[in-house]
Amino acid sequence: MSPQIPEAAELVIIGAGPAGMAAAIEARAAGTEVLLLDETSAAGGQIWRAVGTAPEARKTLLGKEYAAGAALVSEFAACGAQHVSGVSVWGVMPDENGRLRIGVRHNCAARLIEARAVILATGAQERPLPVPGWTLPGVMGAGAAQIALKSGGLLPEGRCVLAGVGPLLYLLADQFLRAGIIPAALVETPSPHRRTALTHLPGFLRAPTFRKGAGLMARVRRKVPVIAGAEALEVRGDSKAKALRYKRGGAWQEIEADLVLLHAGVVPSLHLSVAAGVPTRWNDVLRCFEPETDELGATAIAGLYIAGDGAGIGGAERALPSGRRAAQAALEHLGHNIDPARRDAARKDWHKADLGRAFIDRWFAPPPALLAPRGDTLACRCEEVTAGAIREAARLGAPGPNQLKTYLRCGMGPCQGRMCAASITEIMAEETGRTPAELGHLRFRTPVRPLSLGELAQLPAGENARRAVLGDAELPDTPLPLPPRAR
């Protein structure tokens, strides 16, 4: 793991999760030079977070699927790709000459890397669940709690309640049970697509996820009170969470809790692809926007590919062949011939991993009402814009969410809309009767991750940029007056 980042590379892969590692291995097998950049300190992504360094006992606790990630991490480490960790990628910028430039920040310095092909394997983010009280300390994503367990061995202390919808709630509850933690409750909100899910049941019954999932749910239900059919959720507390309230059959109930873990599935990370100019499409079952790609992951931008959950949620199993397929497409772009057998194998693996997905997507879909808060509930956590203010502004007749952002600053804080973009569209859809597909989403822009002005200012600039900023004037040739570097 070299800390040096080259100025140019044939193929740059962003993200060291299943898709990114699989893509790197595939490209290395073809002899291509690969640079893989990742934000965390070790390969594995969120699904196999810290699997390379986790003690055996923790791997046992987290289960076989987690432990299995270690094999791929080893294979990736040996594949000859240059892996640089701790890199934040703040932009992939196609320029007018067809070059792809990647803006990175590493060791408190900003750099631009030129690549002939780029695979975005930045995965998913947990879908924010903006219920009343969700900004209180003691409320976090179920995925966040799982990351704390994988990366730091942290377990809930006191009463813990899981709430929302998605297989992760059961998986996490099971992992807690193995560690001797019994959650106080698992409160489930109903999917609006359960009926149509059943038409996809045959595929699911043939999928490996079926047996695994059924066993898991049965184990959890034996030990944890599962409350199904909650229509609304709310966290109570002043300076921290004290209780989860849920509405069921029209009546509110309350469960004391020190830690409330919310979940409503995961959604593709869109910031890099959208800021690069990739168009998106609305997925009405998963209720999220996805970047537009072909089945291999190619985007409208020449040389730019998306693999894994970042292209559409499919889970780790599907991310592996997705990474291989995106790598094959990128290799072809770079002038390689792809062995048809290899191409076919990746396609078959993708479809095999996709078995059961149609059922799972529908069975665990989020109820739209939960995603469109009301009243004093904060939709935008950074700028602290309430759902009520967004609703009221939407009634002024704005054409879409970007005008609401202008009105209210929602989406302009440090998270750049990661936590509120979906809610703004959902709220606006409810207020105007237009569909999310028609409304679109907030426009994301570089830098999609923060870097300091001093770091940005040290990037090289060419003559055209000089003319655009300075006109006939010149900057002094003395060194920039910069503060000492931080760690």
Partner: protein
């Protein structure tokens, strides 16, 4: 909110939290170290001053912002602790310009 699982953690290292000694474990992210040490409030929000703590632990929510070795607004969930690191919790927007005349 959290405690460590019984599996032996990495070696103990000393950091400073708001000027006071605080024990972390080698390999921890700053966020994990604080959560394991019983910290529930990471910062007070910028607009209303409400208490906030990490929501996502994967670099998405920007709720875990702390000052690390004098640099404000670092994402605690993405930085690995090092011995002697100075962590400060923030109240409101960090002060990086002259304070305004009253």
């Amino acid at each position: 909110m959290f405690r460590r699982d019984p599996i032996p953690p990495g070696e103990a290292i000393e950091i400073l939290l708001d000027g006071a000694p605080f024990t972390a474990r080698r390999g921890d992210t700053v966020a994990n170290a604080l959560l394991a040490g019983g910290i529930t409030r990471f910062r007070d929000s910028v607009v209303s001053g409400a208490p906030r703590a990490p929501y996502c632990l994967m670099g998405t929510c920007f709720e875990c912002l702390v000052t690390i070795d004098g640099t404000p607004n670092r994402q605690a969930c993405l930085v690995t602790v090092e011995a002697g690191m100075r962590i400060e919790r923030q109240s409101g927007a960090p002060s990086m310009l002259p304070e305004s005349k009253a």
